[in-house]
């Protein structure tokens, strides 16, 4: 077998930090090579070295690609040789069409004049390859995340890709789209295209990967070969965290009390298309000390439901009643919802959760500034001690609370968001995809925090697209599809199959 890529002894230092320390990785031609590791292990940095984002000279070690040592000065150099990276945050221009996006910077043009018919024809071919049934003229903004991901891949194909690098490609995809994407990778493999797959979803990795390189704290831990014998998830986790993880979900003895929170006949309509009902007559309840899950596919209306509930942050023509301890409460603005004891930690930390340019301290107190101030004047020292308190309690890893949140890893950012909402002292905490894009170790910590909340007598409503997570954490699971709750399962009777079954059945109706 011959290697398409060999990275030898890669070391990359940032001021004060060694991000990569003597990392070695070998990717064989025509294989799917998974790269795993906790957040901050150095996966993205390694890929940036490979793609030339960090040019030759800014790191030490050597990159041997197709048998020759390469010195990339920028992305253009690596792309010219067929190394294409697709980032976690998609790099598409929303208001341009699929065709325009695919050929952006690589236009089908002669003397600067674009040949649109050639571009469209070529786009059609590429879309067919990736299995996307859309017109090349469709604007990217009108596509869902899953389809956008496919456009990215089509774009990579248009550049004659030989080594495709995917950074968390399925992080925001539902299971169906994820499967489609993984199958596509297998197809590419059959055509001889190699790929490097970075993912936290270990089940996917054990499904498609031929070999797995594990990074930890900036160093290579091991490379596992999956061809000889399948490598289980537990085996991978052991490499990532350096210990066996007995149980991925912390133990908890639920102490469930009376019903404290009820939502009755909750409906909401699309903010622009007023006739589209996005949330349909939702009725649910949460008891004291209970963790309740909402399962469903991407686009089932779970986030829309939660946000419409939380101060009408989504949609229009919202109707329904919300009761806390049997009394109807006003949740018509975020401020009122918060002061009435509701908190909502968003699925999109960076866009909706954090003020990234500000430090941990200021983010933690943002939703409850009154809690650290007297007559509109902030008590600096009280604020500081609150922030320090949460930093220690939540084990937020940072030099101090003065660290800007933009520099934190995903897990630590999520802990800051949770701290913010805990400090607002809610009765009901709605957590939307609380562990998205977070590594295994940090997930466990987040789960522990959630359990602690429930044990303290709060009600937790947890939205997640990862069914094992819901099954592992919740006491009761509602299933949502197309804006309506279609099933309610106690954790004892719930299983992935049952949930999927409910969804499929309701879809057929």
């Amino acid at each position: 077998m011959n290697a398409i890529l060999e990275m030898r002894g890669i070391t990359k230092t940032f001021p004060g930090v060694k991000a990569l320390d003597d990392v070695n990785i070998t990717v064989q031609a025509g294989e799917i090579h998974a790269l795993v590791g906790e957040n901050g292990a150095g996966k993205s940095t390694l890929m940036k070295v490979l793609s030339g984002v960090y040019p030759h000279g800014s790191y030490s070690g050597s990159i041997i690609y197709e048998g020759e040592e390469r010195r990339f000065r920028g992305i253009a150099d690596s792309e010219a040789l067929g190394i294409i990276i697709i980032h976690q945050e998609l790099a598409l221009v929303p208001l341009l069409s699929i065709a325009e996006n695919i050929f952006l910077g690589n236009e089908q043009a002669k003397y600067g004049v674009i040949d649109w018919s050639a571009a469209f024809a070529r786009t059609k071919e590429l879309l067919k390859v990736v299995g996307l049934n859309e017109s090349p003229e469709t604007l990217v903004t009108n596509l869902g995340v899953g389809k956008q991901q496919l456009v990215e891949i089509a774009k990579a194909l248009s550049k004659k890709v030989k080594l495709l690098i995917l950074d968390e490609p399925t992080a925001s995809l539902n299971e169906k789209d994820s499967d489609a994407l993984l199958n596509l990778l297998l197809q590419f493999k059959a055509q001889g295209i190699s790929s490097i797959l970075i993912s936290h979803k270990l089940n996917e990795i054990s499904k498609v990967a031929d070999s797995i390189t594990v990074l930890r704290d900036g160093g290579t831990v091991e490379t596992l070969d999956c061809r000889a014998e399948p490598v289980g998830e537990d085996r991978i986790i052991r490499g990532m965290v350096g210990r066996t993880m007995e149980d991925r979900y912390p133990q908890r003895n639920p102490k469930i009390g009376e019903t404290i929170f009820q939502v009755e006949n909750w409906s909401a309509y699309h903010p622009i298309h007023a006739h589209v009902q996005v949330v349909k007559n939702v009725n649910l309840n949460i008891r004291r000390g209970e963790i309740v899950g909402i399962a469903g596919l991407m686009g089932a209306g779970r986030t829309e439901f939660a946000m419409s509930l939380f101060g009408r942050s989504y949609g229009q023509n919202i109707s329904g009643r919300v009761l806390l301890h049997g009394r109807e409460i006003d949740v018509s603005t975020v401020e009122k919802a918060v002061s009435n004891g509701i908190a909502y930690a968003t699925e999109d930390r960076k866009t909706y959760g954090l003020v990234l340019a500000e430090d941990i301290r200021k983010n933690v107190t943002l939703a409850n500034l009154d809690g650290v101030s007297k007559r509109l004047v902030i008590d600096d020292m009280r604020e500081l001690s609150v922030a320090n308190d949460y930093r220690a309690k939540m084990r937020i890893r940072s030099p101090s609370v003065f660290q800007e949140t933009v520099n934190l890893s995903g897990g630590n950012q999520q802990k800051v968001v949770l701290s913010k909402w805990l400090f607002s002292d809610p009765e009901i905490l709605i957590l939307d995809e609380p562990t998205r894009g977070i590594d295994v170790g940090a997930k466990y910590e987040i789960y522990t925090i959630i359990n602690r909340l429930a044990d303290a007598g709060k009600g937790v409503l947890m939205i997640s697209s990862e069914m094992p997570e819901l099954l592992g954490m919740c006491d009761r699971i509602y299933v949502m599809n197309e804006g309506a709750l279609i099933a309610e399962l106690g954790v004892a009777e719930a299983s992935q199959e049952k949930i999927m079954h409910a969804i499929v059945k309701s879809g057929r109706r």
């Binding site: 603005t333 975020v334 954090l354 340019a357 890893r397």
Partner: protein, 399 residues
């Protein structure tokens, strides 16, 4: 990144050496050092004219209205917006004041209050479209700029209107009288200077003691003393110079009080904190229970009031209202805020930075005028300085 948690990090490590501290906080002091360097430069090339008491007084008077508007503009820019109409508001409110006092016979006090209210209403009218209708502030205030420039012309009938009652003129040309009755030397000025130095030192010692008590990283004590000492010397020296002339201008006192007030509001109050959060991430701020629309609206109202005040001060200084008053002020004000380190995308910026930025522009205007550089090349140089200052800031931030 440091991955240790709070309890693991030894306190001793949080003590920093001088050099390290200066390095990490260079951005905070960089602008101030540049201002001092620019002042020194002009002091030398103008053979000492720059810091003569008379010129120093002029410097304050010439820049007061820019500084005052920069305070409001800072909030607008931090909130993620821009206000292009302030120059026109200055002209309009100045014109209104002139018509009220000279033509319609109102007394200065009523006029002043009415004009500030009108300024606030103009800000509200513009803020309404920006905050609740989500029309980009650039467009709304560009419209406002044209509207109020036109209204100023209409109001004044294209003529200059003046002069004003003496009481009103004092707003700009008056000085704090010497209660100690000094001859040729204004003891009150020195006294006020000393009092503010005492206040500054008291507060910084108190806050330092508080920080130490809570084990926060603080400047090394030597540097702390040096900083406060330098500040004290500068303030006292400034007041001494002013005292040898006519004392402290009324405008200076208004300006100083406003600077202190806005510094406090931005640093220590919930409303200030919320404006920064709004500019840093509007969606996150909104989902944290902050009334983002109302806050945006209020920053524009505030800007309007300050622009109104600036309009009064400027009219009082010229002792006449002209249709051309305030022309192009918005550019100086916006430049001051950006030179002072504010970010064009919002969420970042400091009151002290904006004030320093305003004085950088002011000292350059003044110094170049003394040198006899024509208005043509003055603009060229100012433009280049703006670009250089902001580029340097962007570069520093990237590092």
């Amino acid at each position: 990144m440091d991955t240790r948690t709070a309890d693991e990090l030894p306190l001793s490590q949080q003590k920093t050496s001088w050099m390290e501290f200066i390095k990490t906080h260079f951005r905070d002091y960089g602008m101030l050092l540049s201002l001092l360097a620019i002042m020194l430069f002009f002091q030398v090339v103008t053979n000492g004219t720059l810091l003569r008491p008379l010129n120093l007084t002029n410097l304050v008077l010439q820049n007061s209205y820019i500084v005052i508007m920069a305070l409001g503009m800072l909030l607008v820019i931090v909130a993620g917006h821009i206000d292009l109409s302030v120059g026109s508001i200055v002209g309009f409110v100045g014109g209104l004041a002139a018509m009220m006092m000279v033509r319609w016979g109102f007394d200065p006090v009523t006029t002043t209050i009415a004009c500030l209210i009108v300024g606030g209403l103009i800000g509200a009218a513009q803020g309404y479209w920006v905050a609740y209708f989500k029309v980009p502030s650039f467009i709304v205030t560009l419209a406002g700029m044209l509207v109020f420039k036109g209204l100023t012309l209409a109001l004044l009938g294209g003529m200059s209107v003046g002069p004003f009652p003496v009481v009103f003129q004092r707003l700009s040309s008056g000085f704090i009288p010497d209660v100690f009755g000094g001859q040729g030397f204004n003891y009150t000025a020195l006294f006020l200077g000393a009092a503010s130095v005492a206040a500054i030192i008291y507060f910084s010692f108190r806050s330092r003691a508080n920080q130490l008590k809570h084990a926060v990283e603080t400047a090394p004590f030597g540097l702390f003393l040096f900083k406060n000492g330098l500040l004290a010397v500068l303030v006292i020296a400034f007041c001494y110079l002013m005292a040898t002339y006519r004392g402290l201008p009324n405008v200076l006192v208004i300006m100083a009080v406003l600077i202190a007030l806005y510094a406090f509001v931005t640093n220590r109050t919930t409303i200030g904190r919320r404006i920064y959060a709004l500019g840093g991430n509007e969606k996150a701020a909104k989902l944290s229970g902050i009334k983002t629309e109302r806050l945006t609206f209020l920053t524009f109202v505030n800007m309007g009031v300050l622009a109104g005040l600036a309009g009064l001060i400027f009219a009082a200084r010229l002792n006449t209202a002209t249709p051309k008053a305030g022309l192009g002020f918005e550019l100086d004000v916006i430049a001051a805020v950006f030179i002072g380190g504010a970010s064009a995308t919002g969420g970042v910026g400091k009151v002290t930075g904006a004030v320093i930025g305003a004085f950088v522009m002011g000292v350059m205007n003044n110094g170049m005028s003394i040198l006899g550089i024509g208005i043509d090349y003055q603009q060229v140089i100012k433009g280049i300085v703006l670009l250089a200052a902001v580029s340097l800031d962007v570069y520093n931030r990237k590092k």
